[in-house]
Symmetry: C2
Subunit: 326 residues, 2 copies
Amino acid sequence: MMLERRPDCRFVIFGDEKQVLPLIDQHPKLKAVTTFHHTEVSVKMDDKPSQALRYGRYKSSMWRAIDATKTGEADVTVSAGNTGALMAMSKFCLKSMPQVDRPALAGLWPTARGESIVLDLGATIGADARHLVDLAVMGAAMARVVLDLDRPTVGLLNVGVEEIKGVEAVKEAGRILRESNLPHLAYHGFVEGDDLGKGTVDVVVTEGFTGNIALKTAEGTAKQIAEYLRAAMGRSLMSKIGYVFARGAFAALKDKLDPRKSNGGVFLGLEGIVVKSHGGTDAIGFASAAELGYEMAREDLMAKVREMVAASTRPELTAAQPAETE
Amino acid sequence: MMLERRPDCRFVIFGDEKQVLPLIDQHPKLKAVTTFHHTEVSVKMDDKPSQALRYGRYKSSMWRAIDATKTGEADVTVSAGNTGALMAMSKFCLKSMPQVDRPALAGLWPTARGESIVLDLGATIGADARHLVDLAVMGAAMARVVLDLDRPTVGLLNVGVEEIKGVEAVKEAGRILRESNLPHLAYHGFVEGDDLGKGTVDVVVTEGFTGNIALKTAEGTAKQIAEYLRAAMGRSLMSKIGYVFARGAFAALKDKLDPRKSNGGVFLGLEGIVVKSHGGTDAIGFASAAELGYEMAREDLMAKVREMVAASTRPELTAAQPAETE
């Protein structure tokens, strides 16, 4: 599927030969551009990261796939496996970029205007001002590559209630971003939860706890409304007839809401690109995740992140004392 | 509107006689059950709480309406005014309940199963374990009254990524709730963002920053999908014909998604009930908020909150050292 759209891509696949090779054999075109490596160990979906690291380090398919990005055999790693284990192994194998303390998980968010990038979706919990600035810079680098923008707009997620105006760290990060006036990042200011769907900015920055909950709340709301719509269309003969006439419209809506299209979270801040596909997706969804990885590798996301992180850590910025969240 | 459904309710209205009296005069039935008090000062929508308190204390329509609940002239205060000012004046005038440090803003969340109560929606930012337990107890009291449940289920909002499992305060609050095994509250455990729409539990507890962002994210997503649906139905002649047939279904869907139906946030933890209506709502929305207040007053929410807070602060609970969020 992806090969048809991206004929120049090559695959390196790690897995159990008994399970994977018969599948590859069914697709001669894929086979022609694939290097396969047999691995004996695979990481289970519900193991803790520490467990997975213990039995899977150096020899599991997951570790070997990450390591291929490190050795240069691959440009990007794509996995639909255990998120926690993937993050732990990626950190351990690829290491963090200098100047970035903690990695982030970034995702594409479908909006009324197109797509935005939202991070952190749960890689780390809690953030001081410095980490929020790192997220802004890394998210903007990703937006340049994935959304093809020269100077993406960046907003900090905050609450709009006047008397409280959010945590100290968010305010401090806003001050740093405003004052630093970076060349490849246009700081917009604070945004609220409903700005996510509106697409008010190209990059929405928040710490991982809130980001994860916002993402799952939006997914849950979308499912809930789809359910309401299904129930409403099935309630009478008239509505069923209407459904038949408007079939094309419903197909377009379904396509628009298809979560497979924005499948693929990206670990940022490591010395290599790792894309996490949703575990429950199908071939279409996995191809989206792989294609996202392909694009980021082709446009050299790593170089852009490095350049922007370096530009953001000029002396006057690091001198600013980051405030802790309460 | 509300009077038709609740013929035994009485109104005390505060405002500028030049603006309000002509409106009341148009509704003789309303006039018959209304006591009107003229006030010279009104709180502006965009003033800071501190400003509003300075010029509006004792004499603004907002203050007088809150004070009416304190003196007993009214059983509940309903306002569509400035949220921050309403919270500040409510705290100042009504005072917090003993044993409750900080008030909360609770709201009704439409779910696939009916309705849940979610709090805190942004009254205070950050929460230690003790405050999360207070939120659970107050939310459960509200669920008993509004959702008519004897022992509502309560979940703590958390992130599901295995390696991090959320902040310390959330884990500690979970431990306290599980061990205390309160008579009118069934602790369910952690829930995630998508459980809000599913209605997995009757009461969802989170601190105000995350709660506010989850609420606005869900509202934004609902609007975004409604927009997609509108665009899809208008895209071709066939879909427009389909729309005509399915008009009834779309009306039902619109009704289901009508934000006016769940209008009304409730300040909990004060010595009186204050309902905050959305500022941008209309008569239908404001009537929903007023009716919510009516129900809570009739079922004596205050007594239930007091009883449950007292039960939850038995020595073995207060002895537990609450952990601070990071």
